[in-house]
């Protein structure tokens, strides 16, 4: 395990800047999650660290060693690919054992066997060890791919959406398991996902990527409560943050230059009131809570409500802001930091 330091890493494909001057310091034993929309450059960042792509500019150090010009094999990284990329002609067991059988490792057969079986159990694939890897479901393949990384003890684990094709229950289980393994091993891990729950629950720090640039990096709490700009604010929160014009709702003291007000559920106070400033448009029942779609004049917003709140579509309602987020014309936050 080791520190991984990216300085000004840049990579273009033709005219397309896939990764743009990314600075990132991943500390030894840290779990960093990269979050960003599709095409933001997440996969490319991982590939650059693994040495599968060569950066156009910038430097990369793993454990203090400069990585420039080093082949993937000499970088000591483990990679879980977005496409599972198992060895199709091998069994699950052989796939898991493959990285350990490298002659450079000089590992004896008994150690390999023990390690393979232990990891297979961790990722819940031990009942299929003798299956051909082509005869597995997508979720099973993904678990084998994770296992093939976990059998190793590399400087850093790179994982590209490793839980994306699992069902919700298994995903929640493996999320916990992965976090537990990472803590236990003290592993350094860079993890890419679209799933904000994964990001919020597993990450020590979250990095938000947008169009190749690392827009903000911080603890999940910082990213959530203190987003640097509209883009970051829009990545987290369920339901989505409401972007409203200034002065639409009472309760806000917008600083000078405010162009947009961002309001999540916790920034919105609602009360049932005939003749209030808004009207309930639609209610989505999610079971433990409701999504309340509200119309304020021409604007719509969505917030959470208790399932037993006595409202129906068409009812009048009063809506006020409570300490919302303020954004300037360029989309950057105006009000200061809230943490610390």
């Amino acid at each position: 395990m080791a520190d991984v330091i990216l300085k000004g890493i840049t990579k273009s494909f033709g005219d397309k800047r896939a990764v743009d001057a990314v600075d990132l310091h991943i500390h030894d034993g840290e779990f960093v999650v990269l979050l960003g929309p599709t095409g933001a450059g997440k996969t490319t960042t991982l590939r650059l660290i693994a040495g599968l792509e060569t950066p156009d500019a910038g430097t990369l150090h793993i454990g203090g060693r400069p990585m420039q010009g080093l082949a993937p094999a000499s970088r000591d990284v483990a990679f879980v690919f977005q496409q599972y990329s198992l060895y199709p002609h091998l069994t699950v067991y052989e796939n898991l054992a493959f990285p350990l059988r490298s002659p450079a490792r000089r590992m004896d057969a008994a150690t390999i066997d023990a390690r393979v079986r232990q990891v297979a159990k961790m990722v819940r694939i031990d009942h299929k060890l003798e299956n051909r890897s082509t005869r597995l479901s997508g979720g099973e393949m993904q678990r084998v791919a994770i296992g093939r990384a976990l059998v190793r003890r590399p400087s850093i684990y790179l994982m590209d959406e490793p839980l994306s094709s699992l069902d919700a229950k298994l995903r929640a289980e493996l999320r916990l398991e992965l976090k537990r393994i990472q803590k236990e091993l003290g592993a350094t891990l860079l993890y890419v996902t679209h799933d904000q729950i994964e990001a919020m629950t597993m990450a020590d720090r979250i990095g938000i990527l947008s169009e190749g640039r690392l827009v903000q990096i911080g603890t999940p709490r910082e990213i959530y409560t203190d987003p640097a700009n509209l883009h970051v604010a829009a990545r987290l929160g369920q339901p989505h943050i409401n972007i409203l014009p200034v002065g639409l709702l009472p309760g806000a003291e917008a600083p000078a230059g405010t162009a947009k007000v961002g309001a999540r559920t916790e920034h919105i106070a609602i009360a049932r009131q005939d003749g209030g400033n808004a009207r309930v448009d639609w209610i989505e029942h999610l079971g433990d809570q409701n999504h309340l779609h509200i119309k304020v004049g021409e604007h719509r917003l969505v917030t959470l409500a208790d399932p037993d709140m006595p409202v129906a579509p068409g009812d009048g309602i009063s809506v006020a802001l409570r300490n919302p987020l303020y954004f300037g014309q360029d989309g950057n936050r105006l009000d200061g930091r809230r943490l610390a």
Binding site: P72, S85, H89, F98
Partner: protein, 326 residues
Amino acid sequence: MNSSHQTFAEKASRLATEAAVRATPEPLAKRVRGFSDRAIAWLFIAPTIALLLAINIFPLFWAIYLSFTNYRANRPNAEVRNIGLSNYSRILNDPDIWASMQTTAHFVFWTILLQTVIGFGLAYLIDRKFRGHAFWTTLILIPMMLSPAVVGNFWRFLYEPQIGLFAYAVSFLTGIPTSDIQMLGSVQLAPWAIVIVDTWMWTPYVMLICLAGLRSIPDYIYEAAEVDRASPWRQFWSITVPMALPFIMLAVLFRGIENFKMFDMVNLLTGGGPGSTTEVASIALKRDAFEAWATGRSSAFAIVLFVAVFGLANIYVKALNRVKQR
């Protein structure tokens, strides 16, 4: 009241039926004078089936019949007698025929070995996608596109000891006098002369199939292996070869069947000579059928060859399927 209601329902259902009838396209058959669709389908494939019966199936059964008789094609008026299995017993006890089978086996073995090794090697190089690889691919494929008759004839010239380029080049490189390089005339060299020409002509074919196999291996498998610290050597043996193996085996199957009945090239280059050193089974068969005119016996020989190829190919295809299913 009730009756008018009834009428309305009837009318609606009649209208609906009519609309449905109009919307359904009339079967093709109705439009082509009373044929059913099935009859028309038969009509379309009948010529192909007739042709197949006439030039493939009928001769096969006719040959099976002849193989049990003493029929000779140069004596059409002689009495044709059923002589049971005696043609077969003569074939299987004839040392010359066994010698020709052995010659065939040698040819098949060496041509396939060389073509597979060289073909796969070329495919592996071409797959590196160096600059101009498309040009080289086309160039390499040219021999395969020529007619075997043309290839046989110009290699006869190339092999000429006095004026041939081949003898000249070998003698230039090794210092052996050209008069000693009797590629087609020497007992030792003639089999190799044929192996060389067949390899020259058909290696591109094997290369093409191997290339398809190599291209079917996705890049990310190699990337995963690289991150897993597999050396290029290990990647080759544990990824490239096993994943391309079904394709290689397919190429071997095609070439094996083809070379088992190799005729044109041998006939043009050596005609089976010198002596009978290059007399492969198909040449022996032709001599028996059209020089000795032992039509019945040569039919039996043909059936024996057919069963042998068919049996071997079947065993092989089973093995191929096992490899593919792994």
